[in-house]
């Protein structure tokens, strides 16, 4: 039962993204643009960009995700469908999962596909790009879940990304540290399996706990 609900909701979400292509293309362009600003701001020299590359890409990713989160639940709340989902307890969890999965498909996946190109723009070697790509792949579930949590918290606040940034970025710091240390260690030629395992563990913790928190917060929010 809930399986088919989930499938329907997911199809609906993907369709709505498909019909509003700008919704997922704008954050992607933003991601590219932020990265392209850094060579102007820092220096276009190869060594400078190489040392900062992983950090730049991660910060750009955080910012572009931040752009997309305020509308995550707000649209459905405005048109009233979120209230309906909250009234039916069995609908809410499939709805949240579908929402986040669609977001992963339409925002994070394009960003992941773009990342190798950004790495090349910043003079990263292929091996470093691989590591960077892997850290983003493992870190993105955490970013997505914590971000959705922030979207649920600020649903009624209606202040857009500034408030959301204040809430989210302190919570993002551990992921940032883990991921960027992975890259640094890998560049220095040291093993990173342990760190990747930590990143996975953190992602699992988030996947296990955060959806329930989102559910509770949304229920309070639509009261």
């Amino acid at each position: 039962m809930s399986h088919s609900i989930f499938r329907t909701l997911l199809q609906h979400e993907l369709k709505s993204y498909y019909r509003q292509a700008a919704k997922c293309l704008t954050p992607l362009a933003f991601y590219l643009l932020v990265v392209c600003l850094f060579p102007f701001a820092l220096n276009a020299e190869k060594t400078v960009l190489q040392t900062c590359a992983a950090g730049i890409v991660w910060i750009a990713l955080l910012l572009s995700l931040l752009m997309s989160f305020p509308r995550l639940f707000a649209d459905d709340h405005q048109e009233g469908s979120l209230t309906q989902y909250c009234l039916q307890d069995t609908m809410l969890m499939p709805y949240i999962s579908a929402k986040m999965l669609a977001h992963a498909f339409m925002h994070i996946l394009p960003c992941l596909l773009l990342t190798p190109i950004l790495g090349l723009l910043l003079y990263l070697s292929v091996r470093d790009i691989e590591i960077l790509w892997l850290t983003i792949l493992l870190g993105s579930p955490i970013l997505l879940l914590i971000g959705s949590l922030g979207a649920a918290l600020t649903l009624r606040a209606g202040q857009g990304s500034a408030l959301l940034a204040l809430i989210l970025f302190p919570l993002y710091i551990p992921v940032l540290i883990l991921a960027l240390n992975c890259v640094t260690l890998a560049t220095a030629g040291r093993p990173i399996a342990g760190l990747l395992a930590w990143l996975c563990a953190y992602a699992c913790l988030c996947i296990a706990l955060i959806p329930f928190a989102i559910k509770a917060i949304l229920k309070i929010g639509v009261q």
Binding site: L153, L166, P170, L171, I173, I177, L178, I220
Partner: protein
């Protein structure tokens, strides 16, 4: 049970209890503050490495401890307000936030003032400094979210959730940052203190004084808020008559 717990459940009794507590707390606060300041600033010997500069510890360490303690207390109050729907707990949670943020800010500023002569720099991206800074951002996020939420009822519940999430994240942030960079001297207080008794006792007195200061400010803010929220009830009129 009810007669005991009513002080924490019913606004009227809560107000009366805090009225009774305030003079005693103020008395103990003045005692511990004057002992801590006089013994710490005059009688404690100068540090063999840091000279008289170490005396800022009597503000810095209590402020840092209170920064963390207030956040923990707010998280406990958040759980109580979510699970048992205690109005007083929600009030304690929301009224503590600016005080806790002020303590955090004080810890950052005094730490920076201490760091300049000892480490030669105002700021270092060291693990402890960074975690306190992040704690400050967590306080700011809590207050910003509260001011942005329009309705009182959802505001308390949603901000309580944010507090709990922040509280769960604190150890994760702490260990990840620690693992990232560490320069700070070790903790000043341990079960087997590495600090001389003549320096330790004033420090403990100052910590007590800071905790009592927090309690004093919190109780006074709580009284004001209770009077305002219950302004339509007859007991508030009684209180006002007594005061005037």
């Amino acid at each position: 049970m009810l007669s005991w717990s009513k002080h924490f459940l019913v606004p009227k009794y809560c107000y009366r209890l805090s009225e009774k507590l305030l003079p005693w707390l103020t008395f103990v606060w003045i005692l511990s503050l004057s002992y801590g300041l006089i013994a710490g600033l005059w009688f404690a010997p100068a540090d063999y490495q840091q000279g008289d500069g170490f005396r800022i510890i009597y503000v810095h360490v209590p402020a840092a401890i209170m920064a963390m303690a207030v956040y923990s207390l707010m998280a406990i109050a958040a759980v109580l307000s979510l699970v048992f729907r205690l109005k007083i707990a929600a009030l304690v949670m929301s009224l503590s936030a600016p005080i806790g943020a002020a303590f955090t800010f004080l810890a950052l500023v005094t730490g920076s003032l201490w760091g300049k002569p000892m480490w030669g720099t105002w700021w270092i991206w060291d693990a402890r400094l960074t975690s306190v800074l992040i704690l400050f951002f967590l306080y700011l996020a809590f207050m910003a979210l509260r001011s942005a939420l329009p309705e009182e009822k959802t505001r308390d519940q949603i901000s309580a959730w944010l507090l709990i999430i922040g509280f769960i994240n604190i150890p994760i942030i702490h260990y990840s940052v620690q693992w990232w960079n560490t320069l700070h001297q070790g903790a000043s207080l341990k079960w087997d203190p590495s600090i001389a008794p003549s320096m330790l006792y004033p420090l403990l007195a100052m910590i007590l004084a800071f905790a009592l200061f927090y309690a004093l400010i919190l109780l006074q803010r709580l009284q004001t808020e209770l009077l305002y929220r219950e302004r339509k009830n007859p007991w508030v009129k009684e209180v006002i008559d007594e005061l005037s």
